[in-house]
């Protein structure tokens, strides 16, 4: 560091009889003036409230995109390149959906699948959360089981269907088993990566504030890891929904009820493309609905409250 002690001396040695307080140079005034200064700084430096209200672009743009896609579909069908029973148009599928609705099959299959998906997902959350926290917090456990959990996440849960059918037969237990094997590793991994990304400072603060291990886990680690955890939940839901469809398509009959996968399989058996497309659209629709109504708002609120939304394209 370049330094010149002589200039320091000249600068800091008293040269005049001034009454200035050198160690506290800029602040003069009585207590209330200082408070006003402070309040002024606070107001200047902190965020102003943002505007609220319905953003029409957010609603309109996806609707426009959907209309464009349907028009393109209709245009392709009207070219007549393929037989109509192989590639039905939007109106054919809509008619088929109305028929299925009239038979009560839409309601039954959506309800059955959604119910299974949600129950399976909730069980997965309850199982995966404590396991994930434990693995993230206890190093030997993580070293032992971490690779296995990552492996299980990569393993397609459809691979469990044959085993599940042999163990549980054609019952709901088969479906739930496959769903759990799909969702649990995914949620555990999401939580672990969320915990890994916590700034180390938060743990120091927790220690200094006197948190014990349980308080640290529940009141500091878990909320700090929440963004990653929610990401894991979202992925967990996707995995359980996919596994469910796979299980329903493969395992038909027995005491297994009539779900969306079963509807899809029925369409295949009848070689009725309109039913198949109806089922696919219903599966897609449920997925979009869950994202829009459940995960989207939760994630947005979480990011907004932590000030992480500025500049994002959400």
């Amino acid at each position: 560091m370049p330094s010149n002690p002589i200039t320091t001396e000249e600068r800091t040695l008293p040269v005049t009889e001034s009454k200035e307080h050198i160690t506290s140079p800029s602040l003069k005034g009585n207590a209330s003036e200082l408070r006003d200064l402070e309040a002024g700084l606070d107001n200047l430096q902190s965020d102003l409230g943002r505007k609220r209200g319905i953003e029409w672009k957010r609603v309109l743009l996806p609707v426009v995109a959907l209309v464009v896609l349907i028009l393109a579909w209709q245009f392709y069908v009207s070219l007549g390149l393929k037989r109509r029973d192989q590639v039905p148009g939007p109106l054919d599928v809509l008619n088929q959906l109305v028929v299925l609705w009239g038979e009560g099959k839409v309601q039954e299959s959506v309800w059955t699948s959604l119910q299974r998906g949600l129950v399976g997902f909730l069980i997965s959350v309850v199982v995966a959360t404590p396991v994930g926290l434990l693995l993230a917090q206890v190093a030997p456990l993580r070293r032992a089981f971490g690779p296995l959990i990552s492996g299980l996440q990569v393993l397609p849960s459809v691979a469990w269907v044959p085993a599940a059918i042999i163990w549980f037969g054609l019952t709901d237990a088969t479906v739930y088993f496959v769903v759990l094997m799909g969702a649990i590793p995914s949620i555990i991994n999401g939580l672990i990566s969320g915990v890994d990304q916590i700034p180390p400072q938060y743990r120091s603060v927790g220690t200094v504030l006197g948190a014990n291990r349980l308080q640290m886990a529940l009141q500091i680690i878990l909320p700090a890891a929440l963004p990653g955890y929610i990401g894991g939940l979202k992925q967990g839901w996707a995995f359980s929904w996919r596994s469910l469809m796979a299980a329903e398509i493969i395992a038909v009959g027995g005491t297994i009820g009539f779900g969306l996968g079963s509807l899809l399989d029925q369409g295949r058996a009848l070689s009725d493309m309109a039913i198949v497309m109806s089922a696919i659209l219903l599966i897609l629709f449920v997925g979009i609905l869950i994202e829009l109504l459940v995960f989207g708002p939760i994630e947005k609120r979480l990011l907004l409250r932590r000030g992480l939304l500025a500049g994002s394209s959400r």
């Binding site: 800091t12 001034s18 307080h21 200064l37 402070e38 400072q201 120091s204 220690t207 200094v208 909320p223």
Partner: protein
């Protein structure tokens, strides 16, 4: 109960010692500024006093209930409001406290740092100075006699820092805490401390100390002189490492 450091040493692994033979006694209610160049182990010393790290040699006597700690960045939890952060500290400090009691106490502490109206704001909505004041209120919520501060105002602009100096001094007088304030800023040390301890670099060791008397506080000449003397000594310490 005073804080006593005796022949305290710390090294990480097989490396050169970061701290070596540190001796100091800090009386109850005293405001001590711990001054040193960057990288001299000030923060390590503070972490040891806070119980975040263990010394490798020597002995250390701190109050049995531990110490409150204020970090260089506010380190507020972003998922809690300003008040929520303070309430969490209150809850962790005293498990038997009631929710209403914690809320009242948190509001009192926010008033103390002149942030009565900002309790419902989240950390990202506050300015750097306001965040540090919330952090100060949170460290006071711990209700420990010893308050350790690790360059808490280093990242703030000059006006805000001057304001916070005034505020810290006022709160120190009102609460009678024992404060150890780490800084690399000589003026800040003279402005705040009753005593300034100079820590040498590599290894860190207390090599000089000065008393800041009432005369230094009121008389610009004396204050300037002391600042000059300490600055020269600090530069000498740093120059030792030029070769």
């Amino acid at each position: 109960m005073p804080v006593v450091l005796e022949n305290l040493g710390k090294r990480f692994g097989d490396g050169a010692p970061v701290l070596d033979d540190v001796n100091a006694t800090i009386a109850k209610g005293e405001f001590v500024a711990l001054l040193g160049a960057s990288g001299c182990g000030k923060s390590t010393l503070l972490n040891i006093m806070a119980g975040l790290e263990k010394p490798t040699s020597g002995a250390l006597e701190v109050p049995s209930d531990g110490a409150a700690f204020m970090f260089q960045d506010a380190s507020l939890f972003p998922w809690l409001t300003a008040r929520g952060n303070i309430e969490l500290a209150l809850q962790l400090a005293d498990k038997s406290s009631t929710k209403a009691g914690r809320r009242d106490r948190a509001n009192e502490l926010l008033e103390l740092v002149h942030l009565g109206g900002a309790g419902d704001k989240r950390p990202h909505e506050l300015s750097g100075g306001m965040r540090q004041r919330v952090a100060l209120a949170r460290s006071l919520a711990q209700d420990r006699q010893l308050l350790l501060m690790d360059e808490p105002f280093a990242a703030l602009d000059a006006i805000t820092r001057d304001l916070l100096h005034d505020e810290l001094e006022r709160i120190w007088k009102e609460t009678g805490r024992t404060i150890v304030f780490v800084t690399h800023n000589v003026r800040e040390a003279v402005r705040l401390g009753q005593r300034v301890l100079l820590l040498s670099s590599r290894p860190g060791r207390v090599v000089a100390e000065w008393d800041v008397t009432e005369e230094h506080r009121t008389d610009a000449g004396h204050a300037g002189e002391l600042t000059g003397v300490i600055t020269r000594r600090l530069r000498e310490e740093i120059r030792r490492h030029a070769k």
